[in-house]
Structures are given as C-alpha cells and as structure tokens.
Symmetry: C2
C-alpha cells in the first residue's frame, strides 16, 4: 500500500447517537459501542485507517463527556490529539480547528475527515479508494468526497449530484473521480427514486479529503468571523494558555456544518471552478443509523432461518420471527411476536418495532426534559 | 358472621402456573406471587377465609418444591398441616387425603376445597356464599360446588349444568342452591355461547364443600384401590412412620382429578340421587389464567388512559397502547408497540402478545426439555 506521509486522519466523535438508546448514553455514545463485532465503532474506524497513517498522525475531535472513554478505547493515540470541544459547534469549526492545528506542524498536511460510527465491509477496498483520494487532494486545491453508490431510494441521507468525469482522473475500473455538481438535502421518496434511477447521484458519506491549507483558506473565505478564533486557538496549542483560550473562543465560533458553510457555496461556483470531486465508493458502507439498520446489517451477514437475532444467554422463539434482541445475561423467550426491537440494559428496557425504531430519539428527548440524567 | 366450628379450609397449592413464567418458577409458583396487590395469591386465599376458620383449621396440600416458600408466606398456619405430596397425583388423592386426616380429629368435619391462585373482588359476598354452602354441606351427604355465573362464552373452563332448584334451599335473593345435572368439559366457542345464553350453566370454580365422611365414602366407592392407601397414610399421621408411609404409598394412588373420579360419575346418577348442589356465585371471581387475564384484571381496576400498564421504575410510551409490562427497577420505553406482554426478571425476559400469552407454557416445556433447571 502506497502511503502518504502527510496524511492525517481526523475523526469526528462528538455525536450522541441517541437512536441507540438505551445502549448509547451521553458518556457512552454510539461510536463507543461494539455494535458489530468485538471492537467498538471508533476502534474499528482507527484500525482500518492505521495501514495508511501511524497512530501519532490521528486526531479525534469529541466532547468532554466522551473524551475519558475514548482515551481508554484508543490507548495508542496521543492523548493531546484527542481534543474535547468546550461546546458543540457542528462540523465546520471542528474540522477547521483540525486544519489549523495541522498547518502548524506540516504545511503539506492532507486531512481525512471520518465519522467515527460507520461500518465498512471491505476495508482493503476502502483504503484503496482513500489512497486515490489522498493523491487527488494532495495535488492542489481539491476537495474530495467519498460518495457511496446508492442501493435503494434512501430518504435519510444527503446526496451528491455528479457531473462530468474529472479530466485529470484516470479511469481505474470505472472508479475515476467525478466532478461534483451539487450537494442536495435529504430528498423525499419520489426524488430519492429519481436519484437512484439517474445513476449520477451518490450518498454523502461524510468522508472528505483535502489539504489543510485548502481547508483553512476555505474557512477564511466562507466563515470570516470564525476562522480567526480557530487560528488563535491553534496558536495556543501546546502552551499553558491553551485550555483557557479554547474554552473562551471556541463557543464564539458559528454553529454550522461544513456542508452548509463550505461545500454548498463552493459547489455553487460550478463544476469547473469548485474543484470538488466525488470518488464513487463500493466498499460496503453502512452508517448503522438505527437499531433497524443494525438488525438488517446483522441479518445480511448471518442469514439465520427465522431472522430473529438474540444477543442473550439463551433464547426460545415460538411463532416469532425477524426480531432484534439485545439482552445479554438473560434468557429471552419470544412468543407470537415479529419485527420487534428489544434492548435491555441494567437500568432500562426498550421495546419498539423495526418500522419505528427511528423514533427512539424521542425517548432520549423525554429523558432530557425530565432531567433523568442517569438514563441519558 | 355465623361460623361453623367444624369447617376446615383445604387449600390446593401444588400447581406450577407455568403461564406466568418467567415470574413463576418451580419453587415459586403462581400462587406464591403477588400478582394483584401486596399479598401473594395464597396469602390472599388464606386471609379471606380467616373470618370463617382460625389458622389452626387450615390445611395446605402442596409439593416439596413449594413447601418451603409456603411455610415462609403463611407463618401462622401449623407447619404440620402444610403437607407436601411425595408425587403429584392430581386432585382426587390430595383431597381424599385431607378428608381422612380430618376424619381422625373431627367426625363432623366439613371440608372446603380452595384453589390457591384465584382473585375474589368481593370477599364479604364470597364468605356469605360460603357460609350458606357450609350449612348445606354440613346437613348431610351433600356436595356443594360454587358455580360462577358466566359473563362471556369462555372456552377455557369446565361448566356446570344445573337443573331444578334445591327443594330444601330457601331463595335468598335469587341465590338459592340449584341441583347439578351435569359437569361438562371445556366447550368449543359455539357450545360456550349456548351455555351462556341458556342461563342454567355456571363456571366450575374448583371450590367445593362437603363433609369429610361424605368425601371419604365417595372415594371408597369410586376409587376403591386408592382409598385404602389414603386411610393408611392418614393413620400414620403424627407418628414416626408417617414420612415413610406417605412416601411409599402415595405414589401408588391413582392419578386422577376429583371431577373425573367422583363428581362426574356421581352426577350421572341423576339430579335427585347425586345430591350435588351448585351455589350461584357473584363475588368477582377471576382465576388469572394468563398474563392477559392479569392485564385485563388490572385494566378493569385502574382504567388508565392508554391501557398500557408498566410495573417499572419509570416509563415512557410513544405511539403505544394496551401493553402489559413487568420490569421492576427498569425504566421502560415503548415506541410504536401495542397489545404486548413484556415481563422481565433477573435472569429472563419474555415478550409475547395479549393474544398469545396462553402459549407461554411452551417456553417452560422447552426449558424442561433442555434441562435448563435454573430457569424453570
């Protein structure tokens, strides 16, 4: 594997993942759970990138609630590069901060931005795609986004509309990069079907590659009020003033996603000018957005007879099928029930359906409102 | 309340109640659970009879698995009168044994036979009915059965067909006793509807009253091989030989219910000869035969808005209704589910539907077969 010594993975790990309640909690969010296998989601994220960059080149942006657990789960990463935001400000400031940190140590730094809670079925293919993307990003003022080839008319994701083939990109078995025409919001079902049929739309994976200076310049251009705060925080990094500076200035940054702040306005300049490229990706990506998505992921991997999957000390099903059960340490009996999601922890029990598990966030909202802090 | 000094309540407490798994267990059967209120079912059974008979007049027939817990739950009853059968032999030998025990100490003894796991909404009315029944039973070779006036075409119970009014019975606000014409098996739905419409059919409550000598004679007549064993066991009661005699002879008794052994053949003699009387009863009887029956009992008592009843440390329901939840110590969240039964214990979790909870016994059958003894 050809590696780039200027490539730095930046892992975004500040999300709550409330749809995995009651397993996910404020101090133990989705990315810290071993939802698929023995490693946690963030451990898997790091492990599949390690062939491309040594542990010292990783940065993790998270929050104070999650940092202690992340330090425990990723003991090989430099603790100082596991950074807790004093306040959540969405992705643009988080990513910008990483860019300014890195610019100080490596003027040729190439940032890779990675969510911390997705699964990738084919890590070798994933790394091959990334290597190609790092090349493109390193070559100049390019932004590379990994676009997932859609397999269904999903309404839960943003889409990337692509245009012509990148002239500079050799066709590697149909995997040449494409110019990005437009980023779209989550579509309705009819629109999602059109996107799927059209063939030039991809799911926005949230994985981006760009040079640190390209990103820093983009922030100076698109977030002129926020960029100076980030530069001052980065300048204080490693000094006694850092914690204080970070705590005072970061909350003043705009609360905005990198998509809204940078990518959409930049793509509006037109294909030729924006220099945003989409790498079509086919490495078995799944964002595991809900218990239902996790269930489908497991069923696809294991294909059991009745489709009921019980993580339990034992189970018995009578006239029951296609249920997802997580109740470790319990014997679970299902009689006459189907398409349910049943999740049990020491202090909580959730019962919902595969159809309605996306509403589990409402439970957490209720618990927040009732200030039932131990349960969130 | 007029009480009869020769009245002895005999409580049958050997059942497993597997349909209340995972709460009910081999050593902690349904009658030992506080399914309705703070007292257990057997404690309620004793409490509502105490105004009719002091604690020293109670007998409990159970098995070795349940006896220790019953001793703990009923500390005021004489431990020697809580008798553990060496082997289950259905109701005829159990009741016969009680009859021979009692004949030894009181030749005018009147036995009342009571299941240990039913609820009675109106104990005062219940005792008034019993007092009338005790009078009738004490008067001669009569057998009195408490017949529950049916409120629905239930297919899960046996029925009693009644004939003419007992000539000797004064009409007490329509509650005079009726001659029993026939005991019937559990009917199909069409038959149950006919019974309901006919007006002269009652549910067999399993509660009977008769003199000990009447019962002893009936057993000698209908179970001539079994009665001598029971007499020999009763003769040994109170001696050093009792345990040994009981263990050796009781398993030789026929395994048969009192309904089949005595009541059905006797009723076949015809109304006039059989001297079996039915006391129509309206004291809010419920045998709580399943989680569903328990749920309906609770809903009828409490009438909550959405019908979901959660026994938990807290709960939240979204788009969910009419669920029965027992998960003490847990916060329970229900999202998009209805008509479920969810029961959690330290080692087990059951999820079924109100429609299918009668099949919970199949779980216990499975556990028995797999020899998962800790769970049964």
């Amino acid at each position: 594997m050809k590696t780039n010594p200027h490539f730095y993975p930046v892992i975004l790990a500040g999300g709550r993942g409330t749809r995995f309640w009651p397993l996910s909690r404020k101090r133990h969010a989705k990315q810290l759970l071993a939802l698929d296998g023995t490693q946690t989601m963030i451990q898997q994220t790091v492990a599949r990138l390690l062939p491309l960059a040594g542990p010292n080149r990783f940065w993790v942006i998270t929050n104070g609630d999650l940092r202690p657990a992340i330090l425990r789960q990723l003991p090989k990463l430099p603790p100082k590069q596991i950074v807790a935001e004093p306040a959540g400000r969405n992705t643009a400031p988080a990513i910008g901060l990483a860019a300014f940190f890195l610019l100080q140590r490596d003027s040729d730094a190439v940032l890779g931005l990675f969510p911390s809670d997705h699964v990738i079925a084919d890590p070798a293919q994933y790394r091959a795609t990334l290597s190609r993307g790092i090349e493109i990003a390193a070559a100049g003022e390019n932004i590379v986004v990994l676009g997932i080839r859609p397999t269904r008319p999903e309404t839960g994701y943003g889409y990337i509309e692509t245009g012509s083939r990148d002239a500079a990109s050799p066709d590697q078995q149909g995997k040449s990069s494409l110019c990005v025409r437009r980023f779209t919001e989550k579509p309705d079902l009819a629109t999602a079907r059109q996107f799927l049929d059209a063939g030039n739309y991809f799911w926005n994976s949230g994985m981006f590659l760009w040079r640190a200076d390209t990103l820093a310049n983009a922030l100076r251009e698109h977030l002129p009020n926020t960029a100076p705060f980030l530069e001052r925080i980065a300048a204080a990094y490693g000094t006694r003033k850092f914690a204080d500076t970070f705590r005072k200035l970061y909350p003043k940054c705009e609360n905005i996603s990198v998509d809204y702040a940078v990518l959409e306005p930049r793509s509006a300049k037109g294909e030729a000018q924006s220099r945003i490229f989409c790498l079509p990706s086919d490495f078995g990506w799944n964002d595991l957005g809900s218990w239902t998505a996790l269930h489908e992921h497991h069923v696809a991997k294991t294909r059991p007879g009745d489709g009921s999957l019980a993580s339990a000390s034992g189970s018995f099903a009578f006239n029951a099928k296609n249920n997802y059960v997580h109740a470790p340490g319990k014997f679970v009996a299902l009689v006459g029930v189907s398409n349910l999601v049943i999740v049990e922890t020491d202090d909580a029990l959730l019962v919902t359906t595969l159809d309605q598990s996306q509403d589990v966030g409402k439970v957490v909202k209720h618990l927040d409102e009732k200030k039932l802090k131990k349960l969130v």
